[in-house]
Amino acid sequence: MSDLSYVRSEILPERAPPASSVGVVGWARANLFNGIGNSIPTILALIFIWYVVSFLVSWVFSPTWSSESLNQCREIFGADGGHSAACWGVIRERWVQLLFGFYPEAERWRPVVAFGLLFVALIPVLFNMISRRMNWVLLLAVLGLAALYLGGVLGVILGLALLGAAGFIGFKAFSTSKEDRAAQIASGAKRLPNPLIFSAIFPFIAPWLLWGGSIWMPIAAALGFVVGFFAFRFLAPVVGSLAGLIIAVVAALIWWLFLTTGFAGLMQSIIPVGLEHVESRNFGGFMLSTTIGVVAIACSLPIGIVLALGRQSDLLIVKALCVGFIEFIRGVPLITLLFVASTLLNIFMPPGTNFDIILRVLIMVTLFASAYMAEVIRGGLAALPRGQYEAADALGLDYWKAQRLIIMPQALKISIPGIVSTFIGVFKDTVLVSIIGLLDPLGLSNAIRADQAWNGIVWELYGFIALMFFVFCFSMSRYSMYLERRLRTDHR
């Protein structure tokens, strides 16, 4: 019988892997040419990709940028009449229209500024890597550029002042290192206000920029929240927090429904400040898509959270209402809701009510998105282990604190892919408004084809629209992946 005992006296050193399994060659061997069954599809796929790309490249790079009509393009291609290359003249001539619809030319700076401010408002919400000061620099820069663009002596002076301020703060931000700044703050240096303040103001500025009218309207609308806040603040200790909340909401609603117009009119007659009013029917193009998309996205998340919580609630009526709402909205196509918004809703309104068509569409798309959002978030809530609720309860956190601090941050994190999918879906669904006669990019493409010069042009317009949508949707998708990485707290 042989001796079973064995004792290793030294640990083997690590060796490098064989050369054929690392580097480009190793990668290609493992993934592309791993045996005949693997090599043949690889070669076929390469041929297919080459074929598609070579066709696309020759289609895209065609010298038709300055053409005036489809016929001119055909002359450039040659007499064969084949439509084998792109006719980009239509984009050169109509891109402004595709972006702004029939928004008055003199006022087009307004949606551009609103769009720029949108990013300034979004950055502190979406990212935590940019410093407070850089955010204010961005805001000042956008406003400064807008003032410069408007021109006039006042505009130039204001613009230069704003840009100067931006440059000054930006220079200081760059010239002091992070550690120095932290030390300054620790020793009591004044910090700039939190840029989230601007993010909170932006929802009131943006509609004013887009639709124009008196500046007192958005201020009055914002005051509604102030009214609600103070009503809650002073009544909650007296009548309890739930009753206080209800009274606060009612107070705010009364303010919005009955007092806002009067207040705004009064203030306007005292201090008239305003922009020229732009009718909703002049809205169009990507401006319209982004307006609807951004509002629906921004509103559907909070409404969806409330609905998802309501659906899990122990309160029977709340639960029934939420389930009913979600199931009804999910059971009805968006087109139907849009038709209701555009035609039926007027029947139920008292005659003479002017209920803006875009506002109606906004409400419908938001409700639609919220129902889906609620279900996505419910999925996240269901994925949380029971222990998280129990641990929060056992520490004495009440329902709302537990939701806000423990449950929602985790449930939302789990649901990020679903939430962003819904966002992207909603954004793309905004093209459906072309069916009820709003001129979104698709609706405009039909209008452009009705022009005799561009009759018969298809791919170029759709390609351009697809590209624009792709830019938005792809950014959202990449952002969600970034966010998932940032929020990952396990050690994988």
């Binding site: 222990g387 998280q388 520490l395």
Partner: protein, 261 residues
């Protein structure tokens, strides 16, 4: 079953039981649907007592201690914790919960918060302690459970034993008068069971009132001043540990002890 031996012998002389009542349970009954889980439970726990609750699985041990901070509702009888009766009044429930710490089998740390944030969350939001003070307290307790250097990591980066010690520290940060342990070592590797038990022994030596559902009979012998044996939703036998292990009276207890020792 329990092969874990504690290194340090707990110093029983430090563990004094006062005659002040911490928890009083009278005629408590609970049903899950039509299943009668807890039957006529009567139990009085005095301040400073260390009670180990043992019993076969499904005997209602966990349910019993989960009733004490109302993670489970009882349908009949009275539970009075530190002078506050547990009823459907949420104010009382929250008051009791902030006085009673609980440690779970699966730790239930909040994975999206760092260790320090896990420990400061409840003091800040429930007790309204200023952040700085809460952080100091948290670091004090993290040192006590011997993991201050992990304070800025996330729970997912810690071993099971470390996580359970953090969970204990998190409960302690609320300065509870009573601690409930729901099988705190059942999900741990043998190596880690010891570190958690030692933390618990230390806690006992400081006079904490503890109710502990566990299968660690070594811990029961070392620390408990009373062992309760439950079967089929009832308290079948209770006694001080020496008597309980060496001279069990009830047939069911004898059978159970013969199986696990």
């Amino acid at each position: 079953m329990s092969s874990i031996t504690l290194e340090s012998h707990a110093d029983r002389s430090k563990m004094e039981v006062s005659d002040e009542v911490a928890i009083e349970i009278r005629g408590m009954n609970k049903w899950y649907g039509s299943f009668h889980v807890l039957r006529d439970i009567d139990l009085t726990v005095y301040q400073g007592e260390r009670i180990v609750i043992a019993g076969p699985s499904g005997s209602g041990k966990s349910t019993l201690i989960r009733c004490i901070n109302r993670l489970e509702e009882h349908q009949e009888g009275k539970i009075i914790v530190d002078g506050t009766e547990l009823t459907s009044d949420l104010k009382n429930v929250d008051k009791v919960r902030s006085e009673v710490g609980m440690v779970f089998q699966h730790f239930n740390l909040f994975p999206h918060l760092t260790i320090l944030e896990n420990c400061t969350l409840a003091p800040i939001w429930v007790r309204k302690t200023p952040r700085k003070e809460a952080e100091e307290t948290a670091m004090h307790f993290l040192e006590k459970v011997k993991i201050p250097e992990q304070a800025h990591k996330y729970p997912g980066m810690l071993s099971g034993g470390q996580q359970q010690r953090v969970a204990i520290a998190r409960s302690l940060c609320m300065m509870p008068r009573i601690m409930l342990f729901d099988e705190p070592t059942s999900a741990l590797d043998p190596e880690m069971i010891k570190e958690v038990l030692e933390t618990m022994v230390e806690l006992a030596e400081e006079g904490m009132t503890m109710l502990c559902v566990t299968h660690e009979m070594g811990f029961a012998k070392e620390v408990a001043n009373r062992v309760i044996f439950m079967d089929a939703g009832q308290i079948v036998e209770q006694n001080e540990p020496n008597e309980f292990f060496n001279n069990p009276q009830n047939e069911r207890t004898k059978l159970f002890l013969s199986q696990i020792l």
